[in-house]
């Protein structure tokens, strides 16, 4: 019986150039149901959802909404059919207020700001959302922006809600809040399709799971009848070992010594206060903390991207306090940094892999001209060794999937054979398989006696992969402990700022 499906795709195929992003995908979802869409990076999830919301046209296949076969030619068609999508990269107008963004393109008449505000706040009450309707988007945090996106969809009375990796940018608390809203929508009879890489979230929120692999729909299962291991297996296509290795490497000489490090925000607040720690070669130091506890400041002061206020930073005995990134590298310190903002700080999206390689090395070249040959060879080497999926060394890396972009960045940094490697949220937004590939890469570096600082958000992962864990809270270190001796709860307490074990800092 067709009519029971809110939305049904039959044999959807979509090709970009030579890439078959969707290859005969079948998918269906009912009203009053939450369907999770699972698949590795590049398996075609976003493409399929963009087809449902009218951004892309399928090459073949049909879409049925409430049992009727339809052509969705534009986003406005999709909205007319009650389909609302919250894109992975939010589609909001930065300089406009939440209110303007919400009514943007809606079919109703322009109304008085006061009555509109009332209407939005009523909607907020109904679903337990919080927003200041007059606040400008550019002044908002990520989760506030997401709230605006949700309100946009609710305001248009969407009955079919699609969310593309909504939790990738949220803290655990914010995710819990989002799930509450989704459940409410489900109770009200809406159909919700959610994309996420986190298997525990899939199990927590969904009723059914559809799994995509390489553009094909490989399975649809009831959430109640599956588990993490089975989901991972059908997603990757083979059994995956979900445990993370922690190779034992003998602790070497101190690679980085930090003493009394303090740094200030532009407004004078302390972003880091009085940090003391030593990092040894062949060690992986996990850095945990709730968002904004100083991880970013730590990475940026250690790498010379921002100036520390006071204290000492020494790499293998070389004092680098107050030096810029370029000066540090001139001093012969082999330091590499993989920032969380891959395309902003790390790489240039419109350039190919080879040219991105050059960015790091061109300064050491002689003369006014650039010799691309070594860079091309280097690019080919990392494509090969890290198994990067790309049309070629000159294809703009913006076109690659998140996981492949991260591999390019990590690959380039590793090519410089660093003594100290600092990575910030290296698996954010990446699927399981790629995440494990990244963990393996980091462990291999550790075996090569590199000292690694790993800023992460997933405490389970940090506990498994790190030798020691350093917890930051409000710019202070609330503990540095051997990871094997800690539980998740211990870390959670330290993240909340409790100095619960008065152990001396190593």
């Amino acid at each position: 019986m067709d009519a029971e499906y809110a939305i049904e795709c039959r044999g959807i195929t979509k090709t970009f150039g030579t890439v078959k992003a969707n290859d005969g995908i079948d998918l269906n979802a009912r009203f009053g149901e939450i369907l999770a869409l699972l698949g590795e990076n590049g398996s075609g999830k976003t493409t399929l959802m963009n087809i449902l919301s009218g951004i892309y046209h399928p090459d073949s296949g049909s879409v049925h909404v409430s049992g009727k076969a339809l052509h969705i030619n534009s986003p406005s068609d999709a909205i007319g059919l009650g389909i609302g999508m919250i894109h992975q990269h939010f589609k909001l107008v930065e300089i406009m207020s939440a209110m303007d963004n919400i009514i943007l393109g809606a079919k109703d008449k322009l109304q008085k700001p006061s009555s509109l505000k009332r209407k939005i706040l009523d909607l907020c009450d109904l679903y337990g959302l919080k927003i200041d309707p007059e606040k400008k988007i550019y002044q908002m945090s990520v989760s506030e922006r997401q709230t605006v996106e949700i309100l946009k969809v609710l305001y248009r009375n969407a009955r079919i809600l699609i969310l593309d990796e909504p939790t990738a940018v949220l803290t655990p608390q914010e995710t819990t809040g989002l799930f509450l809203i989704l459940r409410k929508m489900k109770e009200k009879g809406c159909c919700v399709i959610i994309i996420t890489h986190k298997l525990n979230e899939v199990l927590e929120i969904s009723d059914r799971v559809t799994i995509l692999r390489k553009g094909k729909s490989v399975a649809t299962v009831l959430t109640a009848e599956t588990n993490e291991a089975r989901l991972a297996e059908s997603m990757v296509g083979r059994a995956v070992n979900l445990s993370i290795k922690r190779p034992l490497v003998e602790r070497g000489k101190p690679a980085l010594e930090v003493k009394n490090l303090t740094s200030l925000e532009p407004d004078g607040r302390k972003s880091l206060s009085n940090l003391n720690f030593t990092l040894y070669s062949g060690e992986m130091l996990g850095v945990a903390g709730i968002a904004g506890s100083g991880q970013k400041a730590l990475c940026e002061t250690l790498t010379g991207l921002s100036k520390a206020h006071a204290g000492e930073i020494a790499y293998e005995g070389v004092n680098c306090m107050g030096k810029s990134a370029a000066e540090i590298s001139k001093l012969g310190v082999r330091l590499a940094f993989v920032p969380e903002d891959r395309l902003g700080m790390g790489l240039v999206g419109s350039m190919g892999i080879a040219d991105n390689m050059l960015l790091k090395t061109y300064k050491s070249g002689k003369g006014a001209f650039i010799n691309r040959k070594p860079a091309i060879r280097q690019a080919e080497r990392i494509i090969e060794s890290l198994d990067i999926q790309t049309p070629g060394v000159d294809a703009p890396i913006r076109m690659l999937s998140g996981g492949n972009i991260q591999k390019v960045l990590l690959g380039r940094e590793i090519e410089s054979r660093p003594k100290v490697l600092i990575v910030a949220y290296p698996v954010r937004g990446l699927d399981i398989n790629t995440s494990y590939a990244i963990y393996d890469l980091l462990n291999e570096q550790k075996r090569n006696k590199t000292a690694i600082i790993f800023c992460g958000e997933d405490i389970d992962v940090l506990l498994e992969i790190s030798d020691r864990i350093m917890v930051l809270s409000d710019g202070r270190i609330t503990g540095i402990e051997s990871a094997a001796s800690l539980t998740k709860e211990d870390v959670g307490l330290m993240m909340a700022g409790m100095d619960f074990r008065d152990k001396v800092q190593a």
């Binding site: 919301s53 534009s74 986003p75 007319g80 909001l92 107008v93 943007l104 079919k107």
Partner: protein, 318 residues
Amino acid sequence: MDYFLSFIAAVILAGTPILFGTVGEIINEKAGNLNLGVEGMMALGACAGFMAGYLLGNPALAIAASFLAGAAGALIYAVLTVTFMANQTVVGLTLTIFGVGFSNFTGEYMLTHSANNTLKIPENVMRALGGLNIQGLSALPIAGKILFSYNIFVYLGIAVAIIAGYYLKRTKIGLSVRAIGENPAAADAAGIKVAPLKYLNIVVGGGICGIGGAYASIITCGGVWMSNSVNGLGWIAVALVIFASWNPIKAILGSYVFGAFSILKYYVPKSYIPAPNAFYDMLPFLVTALILVIASIRDSKENSQPAGCGINYFREER
């Protein structure tokens, strides 16, 4: 006093063609299209407006023709950039070259086919497009001269600027247009029809530029055809958009300020400031350059160029 009043009046007259160009370009840029063809669209309007006045002897048709010519130039630009995604800068510059060339060519052609090698708009048209003379009002002391003495273009320009300001700021369609200019992908995802609205804005904006051109060829040149009557006004308008921070209402003041610079040479007595005429001719462009520099230093997110300006939108791109 009288001297000052006539200075004010002259300033407003000199600023009016720039005002049309500026408002037209603001309407373009707000929809995300940087149209560097203002000079060309004004030249097209100058030619069409003049020829309509000359051949048809009707002032209203002259203005309408200048609007249509500017709009036609803009339509070419819109087809190339919105539909065929050609580079906006290149198409805009080409439009300028084409518009100026076409206008001068047509003028030359008409001249060689005219009776005594001049083209002159009939008196009745010039009278209708000349300064107002409203019973009672225009004769008032001071106010009569600075408020009620101008030609129809001046009032039309102010009206167009105010309407454009209201349209962009207060109407629903204006909200959609601003969203397109800032982030076409967001506007598209919100269900706004991006391409039709871009076309609308580009074409209407171009038409408004065209009227400014008619002012230059008909009023400034006193009803006698001259080549290159627009002579850089379009470029000043493009810069003024920045000065006006993309606000048509502020463009009114801005264009009068520029009008003042362009006529200063007739009003500053040589005995006070012994600067050569060439200096005064250069002044508006010098100020334009200064403004561009200052504007690049100022950074306020809300009063700056729409974020999507100059970039073509293709839905399937990512």
